[in-house]
């Protein structure tokens, strides 16, 4: 695993220990497959690709909430959450902040779809904001500077509602995974690393 050294110039970023541990594991395979759900950060993609990974980028747009059903009306079937990827292909799915922008009732569907595309032993990595916001927010882009150092950057994406669910609700949504770590960062973001067993 590559870490910053004492003599290395300082860069603005957040330590990101969970991701560093996942990368150390997946790069034991000389050519691991990584799925990045966006927003696209070119440097992150090329960083991982230069380490030897095959990086697939599929920008994912979180679904809208399921409309409430009035009494007597039939239930509306929400559209399925589906990535355009084959089953059991990836060693790592980088979901960044997607779970925060997912309506709570769709989080488990999202987790199931990630589970479908992950290989056995594969990893899911995501961030979630600790404190919910009432105002619409933009999904951020993550720039990987080193295995253990990441920068969170603003984007020009349209603002959307950020649900920012509780740790317990996220753990429930990810119940088919083995959650390996939940770490709180200085910027109030939680790092989740989960393993497909």
């Amino acid at each position: 695993m590559r870490r910053r050294t004492a003599g290395e110039p300082a860069v603005a970023g957040q330590p990101c220990g969970s991701l560093a541990r996942i990368l150390a594991r997946i790069f034991k395979d000389p050519k691991p497959e990584v799925l990045d759900l966006g927003p696209l950060c070119g440097q992150t993609v090329t960083y991982l690709a230069q380490r030897g990974a095959v990086v697939t980028v599929e920008p994912f747009d979180p679904p809208n909430p399921v409309p409430a059903v009035k009494p007597g009306e039939p239930e509306i079937e929400p559209p399925p959450i589906r990535f355009d990827q084959p089953d059991s292909r990836f060693d790592l799915v980088l979901a960044w902040e997607h779970l925060d922008f997912m309506p709570p009732e769709r989080m488990a569907d999202f987790a199931d779809e990630v589970l479908r595309v992950l290989r056995e032993g594969g990893w899911l990595f995501l961030f979630s904001l600790m404190t919910p916001t009432s105002a619409p927010d933009r999904m951020r882009r993550y720039r990987l500077l080193a295995d253990d150092m990441i920068v969170r950057e603003d984007t020009d994406l349209a603002p959307r509602r950020r649900w920012a669910s509780s740790t317990r609700d996220i753990e429930r949504a990810l119940k088919k995974f083995s959650i390996q770590g939940v770490q709180l960062q200085r910027n109030q973001m939680r790092e989740f690393s989960a393993h497909k067993v």
Binding site: Q43, Q50, T56, L129, A146, V151, M189
Partner: protein, 160 residues
């Protein structure tokens, strides 16, 4: 099929000797906005596409630029490929693939060097030939390629 052999800055070259103009024109070929090509394109010159191409493009040892108005639905093999417009198809480059901020690309990329601008639209996979990583530490040497050596501090509200 009509080829527009004029360079973008023909007017500026009016004062150049004829032999010099001809030499320059040999090295840069444009497919203009109004041109549509269906089929296989091969060549031994650098090519800029501003029109539409459906099929295959093979420019061994030469560069392909898909201009801002260019739309190609093709598998591409070239030395360097720069995408400023739109590409649907797989790209194999012997040296570098660059997708600019205004570029849109749907397909797989195989190249030793890849640059994706942050505003670019990209859907597909990237496979770069793994180079031996230098033993010496330091972010720049470890990241290598065209990745920026340092990054300005992010100003997002969540980034303390």
């Amino acid at each position: 099929m009509v080829w527009n052999l004029g360079t973008k800055d023909d007017s500026a070259r009016g004062s150049e000797p004829k032999w010099k103009r001809e030499t320059s024109m040999e090295k840069l070929v444009n497919i203009g906005q109004s041109i549509q090509i269906k089929g296989e394109l091969t060549g031994n010159e650098d090519l800029t596409i501003e029109g539409k191409v459906d099929g295959k493009i093979f420019l061994k040892d030469h560069n392909l630029t898909v201009g801002s108005n260019g739309k190609i639905t093709a598998d591409v093999h070239a030395k360097n490929v720069t995408v400023v417009g739109e590409v649907v198809g797989n790209i194999t480059a012997d040296d570098k693939v660059e997708v600019a901020e205004t570029g849109s690309m749907k397909g797989d990329v195989v190249a030793p060097r890849v640059v994706l601008a942050d505003g670019a639209r990209f859907k597909g996979s990237i496979d770069m030939e793994a180079k031996p990583r230098p033993v010496s530490s330091g972010l720049g040497t470890a990241v290598g390629g065209d990745a920026p050596r340092s990054v300005a501090p992010a100003k997002g509200p969540g980034n303390s």
